[in-house]
C-alpha cells in the first residue's frame, strides 16, 4: 500500500510521534534560552560567545535545528494537505518549504561551528 509520498515517514503514527518528540526538544530549548536570558540580565558578548563555544550547547542547538526541520515539515505538510487542494500549488509550496528548511539546517550548522 502506498501512503502519501510527501509525508515525512510515510506513516501517520510515526509522523505523529516525531511531531511530539521534536516538540519536546524544542520546548526544552525554549526553556533553556529563557532561563539563560533570565539569569543573565545585561548580557555581554563575551559571555554569550563562550556559551555557544561549548560543545554541549552546540550539540543541543544542532539537535534543536533538526527538530525544527522535522517539526515544521510535519506541521506544514499537515496544513498544506488540508488547505491546498490543487496538487501543483501544494507541491510547489511543499518544495519551497523543504528548501527553506534544508537551508536553515545548513546555515545553522555553519553559524554554530564557524563561531570560534
Amino acid at each position: 500500500m502506498i501512503g502519501n509520498v510527501t509525508s515525512l515517514t510515510n506513516n501517520g503514527l510515526r509522523d505523529w510521534l516525531l511531531q511530539r518528540f521534536s516538540a519536546l526538544i524544542l520546548a526544552v530549548y525554549v526553556f533553556f534560552l529563557f532561563g539563560y536570558f533570565f539569569s543573565h540580565p545585561n548580557l555581554q558578548f563575551a559571555e554569550w560567545h563562550t556559551l555557544f563555544a561549548s560543545n554541549g550547547v552546540r550539540i543541543l542547538s544542532f539537535v534543536t535545528l533538526i527538530s525544527i526541520v522535522v517539526h515544521a515539515w510535519i506541521g506544514i505538510w499537515t496544513v498544506t494537505t488540508d488547505y491546498l487542494k490543487c496538487v501543483y500549488a501544494r507541491l510547489t509550496a511543499q518544495v519551497l518549504v523543504a528548501l527553506v528548511l534544508l537551508s536553515l539546517l545548513i546555515w545553522g550548522v555553519e553559524i554554530l561551528w564557524s563561531n570560534v
Partner: protein
Amino acid sequence: MKAKRPVNLNLFTIRLPLPAIVSILHRISGIILFLGSPILLFFLQQSLHSEETFNQLKTLFSQPMAKGLWILFLAGVTYHLVAGIRHVVMDLGYGESLKAGRATSAAVILVTIVLTLMIGVWL
C-alpha cells in the same frame, strides 16, 4: 443518504467555537514561527559574529518598534508552546470531554496573555 445535502465549508460563515479558534491559531502561529525562523537564525549569527554586531543587535532590540515586534513574536512562541502542551495532555488521554476541551481552550488563551504580559514587563 440525500444526494444533495446542504454543505457549508466557507470558513468565513462557519461559526467557530473556542476550541476551533485555539486550533486554527495553533496552526497560524506555527506558520508564523516557521516564517520567523530564518530571522531568528540571522539574529543568532549576528549575535555570535563579533562584539560590534552583538551590540548592534542590542541597540536594535532597545528600539520600541523592534521590541514590540519581538514581544509579538514571543507571544506566538508562547501560544504555540502552551497550545502544544494542551495537545500532548489530550494525547495522553486527559481532558478529552467537550467541557474540558472548552475549559482548556480558554486556559490556553489566558495563560498565553499572562505569560506575554510577563515577558513584556521583563523585556
